[in-house]
């Protein structure tokens, strides 16, 4: 357990401001399945981009396939727009090792050659194992490696953070 209380709705407000600053007139949002996809959908509506929103999954490019197997198959990539020349802003709930970002960038390039790819996250919990950085993080904190932080979506659409011990 952690005595740190993360108010996911307040962090979402921060994320929305940060994402608004990163947006250009032709930026498209792509949420990383699953938490990031929820965030990207809500951001896309709240910021009234008028553009379709994408979802991307790391499943087919994960580097721990050998140990963990295929995992959730409902995690399908859906990018309903041209990737060649696009300005992509990836959205995720939490960044830690950076391995998911490496995998989804590879996944993205299977669909084309974007003009640029940036990343905005709700929480940067440190512990990077790859040279990956977010252009915006609503919160930065340090958690023990045994704790897993993940976003949950309530039936009414509100976000909460769940912290689980994974020992």
């Amino acid at each position: 357990m952690t005595n740190l209380l993360l108010d996911a709705e307040a962090l979402y407000g921060e994320l929305k401001l940060g994402v608004a600053r990163l947006m250009t007139p032709d930026t498209v949002l792509v949420g990383i399945w699953s938490g990031g996809a929820w965030l990207a959908q809500r951001l896309n509506a709240d910021l009234s981009t008028g553009r379709p929103v994408g979802t991307i999954s790391s499943t087919l490019h994960r580097d721990d396939f050998g140990e963990r197997g295929l995992g959730a198959v409902e995690a399908a990539t859906s990018l309903p727009f041209e990737i060649d020349g696009a300005r992509i802003l990836l959205i995720d709930d939490v960044i830690a090792s950076g391995r998911t970002i490496r995998a989804v960038v590879n996944e993205l390039f299977d669909y084309g050659r974007p003009a640029s790819v940036e990343l905005a996250v709700m929480v940067d919990r440190g512990g990077r194992e790859l040279p990956v950085a977010a252009a915006f993080a609503a919160a930065k904190l340090t958690l023990p490696a045994t704790q897993r932080l993940s976003l949950a979506r309530e039936p009414d659409g509100r976000f909460t953070f769940a912290v689980k011990e994974t020992t």
């Binding site: 499943t59 490019h61 050998g66 197997g69 295929l70 299977d110 084309g112």
Partner: protein
């Protein structure tokens, strides 16, 4: 010792070999079909390749000829980035007198990670799975009259794609059922997935009565067998397997059991017509039906690649 564990599953109940659909739980069949759906979308990408089997070697061991099945396994393995080695064993070691297990031992020494096996003897893939190294996975690509599980799974994928669910379907399997490993795999899969009515349709010489033990309705009249069906699965008349006079002639067979537009009109208006291929036009199926609006024979081939990708990637992710 009937209570022994299914040799296709590890201690956690995960799939490590695909040898037969018989005895696999519904959850595993559904997992394969769901995963295949993900892989179908790989066709829409600029790069039609994913790296899940990168660095793995898949050996296609075809002791019996099959261009189509071997090719779709090869495409599936290549889309997963595996290295594929095709061995036309019918023409090599076996004809020089090497035993099956010696062949496997040699190929294992070449660092195989997966064997895709077709053999004219029922049970050959089981024997290989039993004797290969623990990290090696075996996929049955058709053994004798026994099973052809990936064909069964791609048929299930096709049915689910067009009919959405299995719970209320009537499925008619028509033709040479006694020689058909496809029919056997389909029947097991349809039963496990909850299809309430499965019919086996054909002449007495080709439709064994003991199918009734598998909860299948045996029907020797074509029109009655197709009546009200949601799905009609036609089987190829396997001339090369037939020994002795089981049928008067191909023309006679077509008259009684060929699928024509007239016969198909007795099925449901939105019925789909399937066939594992290769089709014999004018023997078991009329060209107007094979090329008609109800036919999903070519989509079956496309789905087959995605289903084989799903099977290989699920196996590769599970340890013995």
């Amino acid at each position: 010792m009937l209570a022994r564990r299914n040799p296709q599953l590890n201690a956690h109940g995960e799939l490590i070999h695909l040898l037969s659909i018989e005895g696999l739980p519904r959850a595993i069949l559904t997992q394969i079909l769901d995963t295949a759906g993900t892989f179908l979308s790989v066709n829409d990408r600029d790069v039609k390749k994913v790296p899940l089997l990168r660095g793995k070697s898949v050996f296609n061991l075809f002791f019996e000829n099959s261009t189509r099945t071997r090719t779709t396994f090869e495409i599936a393995a290549k889309r997963l980035s595996a290295d594929v080695i095709n061995l036309d064993i019918a023409k090599s070691s076996a004809s020089k007198g090497e035993s099956l297990l010696d062949t496997i031992a040699n190929l294992s020494a070449m660092h195989a990670d997966m064997f895709v096996v077709r053999h004219s003897e029922s049970g050959a893939p089981y024997l290989i799975a039993k004797h290969c190294a623990p990290h090696v996975h075996v996929v049955n690509a058709g053994d004798g009259r026994h099973a052809h599980p990936t064909q069964g799974l791609l048929d299930m994928y096709t049915i689910r794609h067009y009919k959405k669910s299995f719970n209320e379907l009537t499925v008619a399997i028509v033709g040479d059922i006694v020689h058909s490993r496809v029919a056997r795999s389909d029947i097991h899969a349809l039963t496990t997935l909850g299809v309430p009515e499965i019919r086996a349709v054909g002449p007495k010489t080709l439709v064994p009565g003991d199918l009734r033990d598998m909860d299948v309705r045996v029907c020797h009249d074509m029109k009655e067998g197709v009546k009200g069906a949601d799905v009609v699965i036609m089987l190829r008349l396997q001339n090369e397997r037939m020994s002795g006079a089981m049928l008067p002639s191909a023309g006679e067979y077509f008259k009684s059991y060929g699928l024509t537009e007239e016969v198909l009109a007795r099925a449901k208006p939105d019925a789909i017509v399937m066939h594992p291929g290769p089709i014999n036009r004018g023997v078991e199926i009329d060209s107007r039906v094979a090329d008609g609006a109800h036919s999903v024979i070519l989509p079956q081939v496309t789905f087959g690649i995605a289903v084989r990708m799903a099977v290989m990637s699920i196996l590769a992710g599970n340890d013995a």
